[in-house]
Each structure stands twice: as C-alpha cells, then as structure tokens.
Amino acid sequence: MNIIVTVKQVADPNIPPAHIQLDPDGKRIISPFGVPPVINGYDANALEEAIRLKEKHGGKITAVCLGDDSSRESLKYAVAMGADTAILINDPDLVNGDSATVGRALAAAIKKIGGCDLVLCGRQASDTDGGQVLHWIAEALDLPTVVPVTKIEAVEGQQLTVHRLIEDGYQRIKVELPALLGVSSEINEARHPSVRGTMAAGRAMIAGWKAADIGLAAQTPKVELRELQIQVRTTKAELIPGSTGAAQGAALADKLHELGLI
C-alpha cells in the first residue's frame, strides 16, 4: 500500500500562553528561544498509522510538507519515525497561503508523486486549528474522505473499515481506496524515533519543490488573515487529592459543587 502522509511544522503547543510572542506584522507566532517548532501532533498520529499499515501490508510511505526551509526538520523527524521518503514544498508564494492554497498545492504534489492508495492527514493543525486543508486536497484529487478517524479496523483488498468519531459514539464506515482519512489522536500513540531512524534521517535527501514543479498556478486567497492577538489570561490550577480514581472523582465532584458549578 502506497501511503502519503501530509505533515505540518507548528509552534510547540506546549509553549505556555504567557511565553507566546508574535512577529512584527502580528501574523505569525515566534517560537521562544530554545523551544523549536515540532511536527503537528495529529500528523504524527497519521504517520504512526501509516507505519503500522506498512508493517502489516507492505508498501511505501512518503511524507509531504508545505513550509519554509526550517520544515525540513519535521520531515527528518518523519523519516526518523519510519517514512521512506520526504518532500518539502518550499515556495514563498505558498508558505503563508490559506487552506485552499495549501490544500491545492499538496494535492498537486500528491498527483505528481502518483500511485497513491491512501492519503493520511491529521484532522487539523494545532496552530491554526483550521481543519480544512485535507478537504481541499480530497476535493482536488476527487478522493472520498472520512474525518475524524479514530481506528482503522480492517484492510480488505481495496477497502478499509474505519471508525469515525461522532458526537455520541462512533460510526463504522467502509471506504474504497484510494481515499483520504483525517486522523484523530485517539487512533494511536505516535512512536518516538529510534536512534537508528534518527541516524538514517540525518542522511536522508529531502526533495524541494516549487509551485512551478507541481504545475500550480497562482491562487486567489479565499480567507485573509488580518491579525493575531495574544489573549491575556489568568489561570489557577489546583490538584485534586485522592489515592484512587474514585476518591479523586468524589473530591472533584465536591469541589465543583462548592464552586456552584453543579
């Protein structure tokens, strides 16, 4: 099974809100010194699922990312986890594009790679929480989609049975390949790269493509980011005591009652 996993490099979501800084234009987050950007968490789940599918059914995994040159680090991480090859779409005209632009660029790259059975994406990115890019990819490639996927139950020939999270449970869905799945974090726990994988990633050649390489014409933005504003918040944490889960639950219930929340 040939699987393409889309990867986005994001500011580390563990940056405390008080340490978030914006660039002078007020349109991008600047990672604080010593806190490098990371691979989007849902994308790591998607990659983990691709690796598990490859381990069972064989095939090849290609990680594709649209980003600036620093995004090579996230692609190396993807290779270290288990991706066979990685491609970076690094074009100034695309890097700050809206979901439609990014989705169409990734779709064009996937088309150029060719022979894809399955596209796995994170359900959304942890920076913009947009959740749209995967649908623009699917529409451009005319792929059926299921989002958010919490389990791949079975692979039978050219069909997958997957679980899709709904408000009050989950649906079991059969989807024909080729298809695109938007993966949620419930699906797995992404592995950490092995030492061997990290060494291999250091030697990996990561191809760099521009818009012209994937035959992408200039795009008209459908959404324009006007500004970002840091929210000033005060938070207070309190540890709920209890030696067991049940005791903690009881103490939490008492606390919520005391605060008048229940």
Binding site: E167, Q171, G245
Partner: protein, 239 residues
C-alpha cells in the same frame, strides 16, 4: 447572492440549543450587512423542530429525507447545497459540531469559496465579513476576512445567547435527493453519551464514573450517563 442563511441542528429529533444561538448571530450579521435572514434545517420529519426554530427568518428552508439520518457527509452536503441554491445567500452560518467539521470544509472546497471554522465573533465592515476565532490552543485570537460569493462560517456553540426571535415568515419544504452511491458506506453506529471516554486511561475512567455517580445523586445528570460510562469502559479496553 444576498442574505444570511443560518443552519440549525437537531439532536435526537429535537432542536439543538445551538440552533437559536446561530439564529441570534445570524440576525445581528444580517442587520449589519442590511441583508435578509433565512434559516435551514436538514433532517427527517422536521415539522415539530421547525416550529421551535423561530429566528425571525423571512423563510425557513426544510430539507427533508429519510436518508439524512443517520448522518453521512455526502447526504449532508447535497442537502446543504439544495438549501443554498434556494436561499442564494452571501453568508452561511453553521453550528460548529463534529458533523459540520467534516462536511462543511468539503462543501467549501466544492463551492470554491472561503470558510473559517469555530468562530467566536462575526462582524460586517462594509460588505466585508470579518470573523475571529481562537487559535494556538486558545492562547491567541485570529481575525480573518472571509472572501467569496458565498462566505461560509461555522460558529462555536455557547458563545451567542440562545434566544427565540420572531416567528418564521414562510416555510419552504424541499425534498432532499439521495445522492448516488458513493465510495464511503456507513456500516453501523455505536452510541454512547460519553464517547470521549474511549481514549481515557483506566484511572481517568474511574474519576469520570465517580463524577457521573455524584452528579446523578444531585440530579444533574441522569442514570443513562452512568450506564454509558460503563459501556465505554468496555470499549476503552477493546481499544
């Protein structure tokens, strides 16, 4: 294209509280844009729900069909397109739910138009639609201008006050056409009130179970939730 179209939502055959929140948000926006307000509901046998969905709509479009429940993205998109064709709006609002998160972005891509999801503020600046939403885990608010002939927005629930407006002017019933068999087939659904517990660790499930018991004792949550917790305890093991 002119007007603000507001989609309501149903849960278990009843009007979801978020529906009237969308109506309030839509009414303010329609007034600011000086455009008419219309509503839409998608589902099966919507007469009773429609009677509760009083958002001061000039017209309420009801897109009905037995195939619309249980939910599938393909059917929801086809139904929404029927409502949009009928209303010809410049802005469409949807409640931000797990379902709309799946099908509204695909609808935006099909319509080749702008969409921002999970918005907490909507404003008109002249004819521009300016929306805000939390990003970076809520630590930052982003402000966007949405472009396109039909601008789509999903609105976070719980942000706007749920308040009934004036009675609906007219009801337009549209029989939903079932889309041709696609490449995605719904096999079945597993229902539970506490689906999120599936991924919880045993210890957290114990905390939730105790919470559910205590809430029930105070009459806040019914016995059904405790039962549902137990069901998901088993599902959690399976996963």
């Amino acid at each position: 294209m002119a007007g603000v179209l507001v989609f309501g939502d149903t849960v278990g055959g009843a009007l979801a509280p978020a529906s009237l929140e969308m109506a309030v948000a839509g009414a303010a926006l329609a007034q600011a844009l000086n455009e008419p307000l219309t509503g839409a509901l998608i589902g099966d046998d919507l007469a009773a729900v429609a009677a509760e969905f009083n958002g001061g709509f000039a017209t309420l479009h009801l897109i009905e069909g037995k195939h619309l429940r249980p939910y599938t993205a393909r059917s929801a998109i086809a139904a929404a397109k029927a409502a949009i064709d009928a209303a010809a709006p410049s802005v469409v609002l949807f409640p931000h739910t797990l379902e709309t998160r799946e099908w509204v972005p695909r609808l935006a891509a099909m319509l080749d138009t702008g969409l921002v999801m999970d918005c907490t503020a909507l404003n008109a600046e002249g004819s521009d639609l300016v929306v805000s939403k939390p990003v970076y885990g809520g630590g930052v608010t982003a402000q966007y201008v949405v472009r396109g002939n039909i601008r789509l927005v999903t609105v976070r629930t719980g942000v706007f006050e749920a308040r009934a407006g004036a009675a609906t002017g007219a009801v337009n019933k549209i029989a939903a056409v079932e889309p041709a068999a696609g490449r995605v087939t719904l096999i079945d659904e597993a229902k539970s009130a506490l689906a999120g517990l599936m991924a919880m660790e045993e210890e957290l499930i114990a905390v939730a179970e105790e919470l559910a018991r205590r809430f029930s004792a105070r009459g806040t949550v019914g016995d059904q939730r405790i039962e549902a917790t137990a069901i998901h305890r088993d599902l959690g093991r399976e996963i």
